[in-house]
């Protein structure tokens, strides 16, 4: 296991951790808007770290660039998704933001 592999393994573990954090966030957070926050966390950092980890061990620049392209598109769509859903939830279905009180 060369040092590069150690580094990429570390990135992969980090990515996995953030994906777990995102999923747990979506499960545990009390209302739509917090869950949106957790969702975009998975998109940005979770996937980002996995992409970097894989890019390191892919060994060819073309593959690394393609992985970054995938991540770039996910970033764009996640930014739009978060904004659109939040606006839709607020205006359309009127989901009230969580008022800070502890849910039963």
């Amino acid at each position: 296991m060369s040092p590069l592999d150690f580094l990429s393994a570390a990135f992969l573990f980090g990515g996995g951790a953030f994906c777990l954090a995102g999923t747990v966030g979506v499960l545990r957070f009390p209302d739509v808007y917090c869950r949106l926050h957790a969702l975009t966390k998975v998109d940005n950092l979770g996937l980002g770290l996995v992409v970097v980890g894989l890019a390191l061990q892919s060994g060819s620049w073309a593959t690394a660039l393609k992985l970054l392209l995938v991540w770039f598109f996910v970033l764009i769509s996640s930014a739009f998704t978060c904004q659109l859903i939040a606006r839709a939830a607020l205006r359309g279905r009127g989901a009230a933001p969580w008022g800070g009180r502890r849910e039963p």
């Binding site: 764009i76 904004q83 659109l84 205006r91 359309g92």
Partner: protein, 309 residues
């Protein structure tokens, strides 16, 4: 670890399918169905079928998800009286369980290592004019299937088009914010690029007309739902020509050998590859147009309003 991944994936596909059909609320069923489409795409990936994973991801998550999401607005949740009748009688469950066991028994009775027609395709792949075996089978060895399948697409589009009302005037829509306009403007070039790439790569790798057409249709759906484009109507000649150039080209290529004494769909060896590529390019437009016709969108409010959101 591989066995674990395959095992869990293969196990939760039917479970998820059962979940989709068991839930009462339609929105839950639609979202679970989108998740089911994703997991089946992973299944195709694990079964070393990248072409099918591509089509499943492009069509499954892109279009079927959007189409079903659209259905949420006009179908009510399952009315209670129907729900009661939905319970299955015990003997029916027994019969189904027995038949499923028989199917499983037949699966296990299949020879475990028959290579099927793989070696035969491999042996004659050079004659087909394309390097990727699946495209060779799809457009040359069994090109007749694909020709009829284009007819299936056209017929389904005709049926859906005839049924979707065209005369809907959109209400003045307050909800159309500039964000979706920006999204559309940013997404379309990327979609066109990837679609072109997939048609080109179909010659020597997974890809082809269906995948590219589905991606173009995805972009078209965004344009349709954000009022940038009206639904394709058969009455306008541009739509008709865009829809029918692909099939006409494919039929022309299929029928041409008959005039020189050869058989239907017998592509001339030297330029079979280019013919297939040209036909695929035209079919991409056809498939994108057909998949768009399944969407019941509305015409943009005023012709002048095309530019600003």
């Amino acid at each position: 670890m591989d066995v674990l991944l395959d095992g869990v994936l293969a196990l939760c596909l039917p479970l998820l399918a059962w979940l989709v059909l068991r839930t009462e609320s339609l929105s839950q069923a639609v979202v679970l169905f989108v998740a089911f489409g994703l997991l089946s795409a992973l299944g195709w990936a694990r079964l070393e079928a990248p072409d099918i994973a591509l089509v499943e991801s492009a069509v499954g998550t892109g279009l079927t998800g959007a189409l079903l999401m659209h259905t949420l607005s006009w179908t009510e949740e399952t009315p209670p009286d129907i729900r009661a009748r939905g319970r299955r009688r015990p003997w029916a469950l027994l019969a189904v369980a027995a038949s499923t066991l028989m199917l499983g028994w037949a699966v296990l009775a299949l020879p475990a290592d028959s290579p099927g027609l793989g070696p035969l395709v491999e042996a004659r792949r050079e004659e087909s004019g394309v390097k990727h075996p699946v495209t060779a089978v799809l457009l040359n060895f069994r090109g007749y299937d694909t020709l009829l399948e284009i007819a299936v697409l056209l017929v389904a589009a005709l049926g859906a088009r005839a049924v979707n009302p065209r005369s809907e005037r959109p209400t003045p829509d307050a909800g159309d914010d500039p964000l979706t306009g920006e999204l559309f403007r940013m997404m379309m070039p990327a979609l066109l690029l990837v679609a072109g790439y997939l048609v080109w790569v179909g010659d020597h790798g997974p890809g082809g007309a269906f995948q590219a057409g589905a991606i173009l249709a995805g972009g078209g759906v965004v344009a349709l739902l954000t009022m940038r484009m009206g639904p394709p109507r058969l009455s306008s000649w541009q739509v008709r020509w865009a829809l029918l150039t692909g099939p006409m080209l494919f039929i022309g290529v299929a029928v041409a050998p008959l005039f020189t004494g050869r058989r239907l769909l017998e592509l001339p060896r030297p330029y079979a590859g280019t013919l297939i590529f040209v036909v695929e390019l035209a079919l991409t437009v056809t498939i994108a147009m057909v998949l768009l016709m399944f969407f019941p969108g509305t015409r943009p409010p005023r012709a002048g309003a095309e530019g600003e959101p």
